[in-house]
Each structure stands twice: as C-alpha cells, then as structure tokens.
Symmetry: C2
Subunit: 408 residues, 2 copies
C-alpha cells in the first residue's frame, strides 16, 4: 500500500482497513449544534458526578501520597482498588481474588486487550444483535469474523448460541452485555442467564461479559452475573464511568487464571499502567462505602427521567412505533413504523431541534434501519417532554406527509 505516486514512505498494516471513523462520532458532530436537544449521546449525566468528593479525594491523595500517585506504578493496578473490586464483585455473587483483577484505562481498554489476546484474523467472534458499537470498534482491528447471534428482548437466544461454530477455527468468545444493554436497554432475566450459560458451555464458546450499567437498576437489581455461573469460561468487565465519572477513565477486567498473565502483558505493552493518581483518587472516594449512598441518587434521578420519557413516548409517538421501557441504564430503543428509516429521519429531527442515534451502527450485520436509540439521562424532564413531542411531530410528518408523497 506504499503510495509510489506521492512518494509517501508509509505502508499501513492490513488491519488498518478495519479501522474507520466512528459513525456515531460523525452523527454526534451533526447533532451537536446550538439549540438542539440531544438524546443522541451515550454520556452519563454530569449532574451525577460527585465533584466535591472528587475534590477532597484529589487533595488528600496529593497530600498523603503524592510521590506514589505521580510515579510509575504496577501494570496490574493499585492494590487496594483491586481488593475493593474483588470484594464488591464477591458481594454480588462472584468468587474473585484480587490477583485476577486488572485495572484498565476505562473498560474500553479491556475490550482492546481482550481482542489482542484472543482474536486472530479470520477467527469468529460472536456478538449480540444489536451490540455495543465501541466493542465492534475495539475488536475490528484484530480482524475477526463477526457472527451476529439472533437476540430478542432479553438478549441472545440460547439456541442461536448452540449453533455457533465451535470447531476450528472456533468462536473465540461471545460478547454479551446482560444489564440494560447499550443500545437496547434490555436486561437478561434469571432463566435466560441460566440458558445462555448452558448453551455457551455446550457450544464451548466462552463469554466476555460487559457490565457498565448493572448498578443503574430502577426497581430491582439484575440477576447474578454470568461470570458467577461459569467463572473459568467468562471474562468480566466493569467500569467506574457510570457510577462516578467517565473522564477519569477507570475500568477493570476480571479474568480466569488461564488468561490473566496474557492480559497483564498486553496491558503493560499498551500503556504500562492506568494513571496511578486516578486509581488512588477513586479509591479514596469509594473506600468507605460512598457508592452505597451515591448510586441510589443516580438511580432515582434516572428513573424519573425514564418515567418521563416513557410517558412522553406514549403520548407522542405514532401508532406502529415499538419500544419497551428499560428497567435500568440510560437508553430507550425504538423501532419505527414500517417504511421508516431512522438515518433518513435524523436530518429532519435535527432541523426541528432534536437528535437521536440511528440504530444501524450497532449491528454487525443486517441492520434494522427502523431502530433508534434515545438517551434519557442528560435532559431535564421538561426537555425530555419537549424533545419527544418534537420527535413525535417530525415522525408523524415524515410518515403521513413525506412518505405519503413519495408513494405513487
């Protein structure tokens, strides 16, 4: 691929062809215009950031242990934070030892490290339908062959997991987000969890379980994680981005002993270690049970917003629009009436002052172009009502005027 014409001396790696500008990023650029009420983002509400606690923790760390916080540190992560993670996960039903916890620079990095350690070019990697776009982006440079596992309102369908190819080259893993999935908001019930794990074990397809939203339940905590049911066959990922703040880039990955050394070596090669200052600061914030008080305030806030959006959708969406109110997390997932295309609708919505993310980019294959994702966490209830009413109006006009005119 050396360009002989311009004389560029660079040759790109083959995998670079699998790196592409994020469609969502491009969409967000369009939607980030003054005056647009955006339901497009994937950001937590900054109103939930515990700023005062962060300020105190940061000052304390830079007073009590500045030299350690500012120096190079172990690639595994800060010991007390790893212990905290293990203890917290064990209280939720896992059996984790701190030596299997690796602190990562956001859970996005865990996706990168997992793919680096497990994915060869051409090897099958299974994902939900639809799935988290950032995972597709993290895995893609390692050139997997994506398999989209048929999924319903609880996630992947067990029979579809059983049908995955598990002989050579073998599906390297199934990536699942059981709690309030991004983008669909769906949650996997207890029976489905049991069936998914049984199917994965039968198919000898290990699991990569991503859980950034699990703490953000509204009425009822989700069932025990898949990792608690098949620890040696599951890599589990968590994050502080949704319960504290994403700008610190702090996540973790818990792996079976068979994988821990390789993930650690990949981590060391990738960035030596996650900033020691950030790890100590977050540990200082959470060490004395802060999250037990803090997370319920996020739940209450997001639940109110969820309720507001649910009611507004019922009031304003035209017949034929489908959705289910999420039981936690940050997103509604809508399916528009037949004939609609969410991507085509977007410019009209932005022109009217509201934005959403079309569902298309979240599919590894065969996107359902009628889908869209709406975040309910960064707008106030009044803004949500106004934004949904506006979107409903745009959609009705699209359906009953624009599409009608196009029909001969």
């Amino acid at each position: 691929m050396t360009d002989k014409t311009t004389g560029s001396p660079w040759t790109l790696a083959h995998r670079a062809a699998r790196m592409n500008p994020s469609i969502i990023r491009e969409i967000l650029k369009v939607t980030e215009q003054p005056g647009v009420l955006s339901m497009a983002g994937g950001l937590p509400s900054p109103d939930t950031f515990p700023i005062e606690a962060m300020r105190e923790a940061s000052a304390k760390v830079l007073t009590d242990s500045p030299r350690e916080a500012l120096q190079y540190a172990a690639s595994e992560g800060y010991g007390p934070l790893r212990e905290w993670v293990a203890a917290t996960l064990n209280a939720q039903g896992q059996q984790v030892t701190p030596d299997r916890v690796l602190i990562t620079t956001g859970s996005q990095q865990a996706l990168d490290l997992i793919a680096k350690v497990l994915v060869d070019a051409g090897a099958p990697v299974a994902v939900e339908t639809p799935t988290y776009l950032g995972a597709l982006q993290a895995f893609a440079p390692f050139e997997p062959l994506f398999t989209s596992v048929a999924s319903d309102d609880q996630g992947p369908i067990p029979d579809a997991i059983r049908a995955l190819p598990h002989d050579a080259p073998g599906t390297r893993f199934l990536y699942v987000l059981p709690n309030f999935q991004n983008p669909t908001g769906r949650v996997m019930g207890e029976a489905r969890r049991q069936a998914v794990v049984a199917a994965a074990q039968a198919a000898r397809v290990p699991l990569v379980e991503d859980n950034p939203y699990g703490d953000l339940w509204f009425d009822q905590a989700p069932a025990a994680p898949l990792a608690a049911r098949w620890p040696e066959g599951t890599v589990y990922m968590g994050s502080f981005s949704k319960v504290l703040a994403p700008g610190l880039r702090l996540g973790y990955v818990v792996s079976p002993a068979a994988l821990t050394p390789k993930l650690l070596q990949a981590k060391q090669a990738a960035d030596l270690h996650t900033p020691s200052f950030n790890q100590r600061m977050v540990f200082e914030v959470i060490r004395n049970g802060f999250l037990d008080q803090h997370i319920p305030t996020i739940r209450a806030r997001y639940k109110t917003q969820r309720d507001t959006m649910a009611q507004a959708l019922t009031e304003h969406m035209p017949a034929g629009t489908e959705w289910a109110a999420p039981q936690g997390g940050m997103f509604f997932w809508l399916r528009l009436p037949a004939g609609c295309n969410a991507m085509a609708l977007l410019p009209k919505a932005v022109a009217a002052g509201v934005a959403f993310v079309p569902g298309e980019p979240f599919y590894a294959h065969a996107p359902d172009t009628r889908t869209m994702r709406l975040s309910f966490v960064t707008l106030t209830p009044d803004e949500i009502r106004y934004a949904v009413a506006t979107l409903g109006g745009v959609l009705k006009k699209h359906l009953f005027e624009d599409l009608a005119q196009e029909t001969p």
Copy 2:
C-alpha cells in the same frame, strides 16, 4: 491452542505467544529488596515532581471545569493542550499544527497505536542496537520481524540504514530515540542526524522518533529533531513523564497527515480518550511557562548526580570497564571487561546491596552480555558513591577471584 485436557474453552491468539513477562519487571522484583540501593529503575526522581503545582492545578480544574474534566471527551485530546504541544515543538524547529497532535495515555500508548496502524505480521521493523525495551514489548504483539540496525555511540549507523530491506514487504519504520537514549544515554549529533535522515530517505524507510528525555540535557540542548528534517516521513513522540510526572500517564504523538486519521481511530478503539482530568490538570500546570522554570531544576539535579556517578565510576570500576558520561537523560551504559556477564553478576551485586539492569533485554538480537544500565537519578550523591563503590568491589571480586578460580 484450546486445551482439550483441562477443558478450557479459551483459544489464545497467535500473537499472544509474542507477549511475555517483562524481564526487567522480573529483575526489578529481585532488586526491590529492603536495603538494596537500586540503580536498576527507569523511574524519574520523585523529588522532581511539582507536587504543590499539581495540587493547585487539580483543585482549580475541579473548581472551574469539573463537569468537563470528569465527562467523556474527544479522542484527539484536550484542545488547549494539543495547541501547547504544537507551539512548543514549533519553537524547537518543527512545523506542527495542533490537528496532527494526538494526546496519548503515556507515550507507551503511542508505541502501541503506531504498531497497530503500521505493522503486519512478518513485516520488518528496524530498531537501534540496543533499543528501548518497552518499544520491543509494544511492537512484538503485532508480530514484526525485528531488524537490529548496527549502532555506535551516536545511534544507528547511516550505512546500516541504507542496507535495510525496502522492497516488499518493506521495513515499516525505523524506531529511534535520538536524545539520551534509554538504555545507552547516547545522543545523536547534528551531522549524524543529517546522515540518518538522508539514509532513511534513500532507503524509503520512515522514522518513528521517540523523545522522552530531550529536555533533560545538561550542558547543551540536543540538535533539532529528525521530524523537523523529514516531517512527512517521521512520526514524533513526546511525554510529560520525565518533566512533570509519569503517574499521570500523559504523552503525545505527532504524525504526518497521511497517518493522523488512522492513529486517531486506533486511539478511539483503544481507550476512547486519555483522562480529561489529567489533560486539563497538566495544561493548568504548564500553561503559563511553568516548565521554563521547572525543567532547569531537574537538569541541575540530574547533572550533579551524573557528575557524582561519573567520578565514582572512574574511581571504582576495574580497568577494562567502558562507559561514556551521558550528556543528558537518566542513564549510564557500562560495558564490563571481557569475560564478564552482567546477568550473572546481578545476584552477587544484589547480595552486596546494589542493583542494576543487565543490558541483555534491550537487544532485539545478539545481546552484548557484558553491558549494563545504571540509573543515576533516584539515589542521592552519597548513595551513588556508595552504590558504585560496592558495585566496583563486587565486579573486582568477580573478575579477580571468581572468574580466576573458574579458569583452569
């Protein structure tokens, strides 16, 4: 590689065989014993960390812009910091626009991203002899074929660059560390820089220039970077680790326009973005010329330590030991007398209460087993004198007693 015996469902990627425990890490474990004076580390002195400035900056960021500092942010990095980097590099002779500056999670991450974008399995990648071990570790998982370019006390020899294979598959790049290289401490003079760039251009081998130590000169600033001489053929990397603090994990990579989008996409997939809080905090520290006052204090401190170690080596090393006093940076590079093996000497040194890093791991091929790296920046002058005297004693005993006994 699925283990049918134990029933593990995991299959490692082929590249995982190229990930290994860091030898240095293992060595450091041995050397980090109570009472051992270590010249083995690659850490800057924590006495140089501007703790008070960090504390003020952190408080200011969390007061003035907490929501931005704690929220998700752009993958490219914080705009004002990118502008600062461009302006600073331009003052040193480069011509950089902020849009080509990508902020990374330490410059280690830049090595990972560069390899991800440029290295195919089996493609040649050229390195100095010896070279920075962390670069070998970052590149190795992408399965390059390393070529060790013959090097002397100024770095790679131009004729050896000219001899690199540049037809298909072609050398993807030559990785060079022109200023006070880790591990050798050597610096490339003006004439050599010109010759290296001319040879690289003739061979159509682009350059990856790593510059973590360039500001740490003692008497004279190093000549203009290679990137200033061949901007379209050089990727340039810098870091805040040695002039501020490594624990914040803040580095940057400046790339020719042909590579910038791919590096950005790789960055986004790797960890979304470098912590916004850290970027804003560092920018707050440096925005008003802080480094102009701060860096000279580091230079003065390290120069005194360099002088102390140079004198101690002259006093205590046996005849036949070779070294050159470094003109900047953090390391002396020693070559022991014939018959010595630095790795074999290490346990004896540790038993006597001093530690160093053997040179072996820094070679991609054919290590010179007589070499060792000594850091002079984390010990006090008194400790340096004592440590070098002790090392000299161990070496003399090794040479004149142990080795003599082994000789029949």
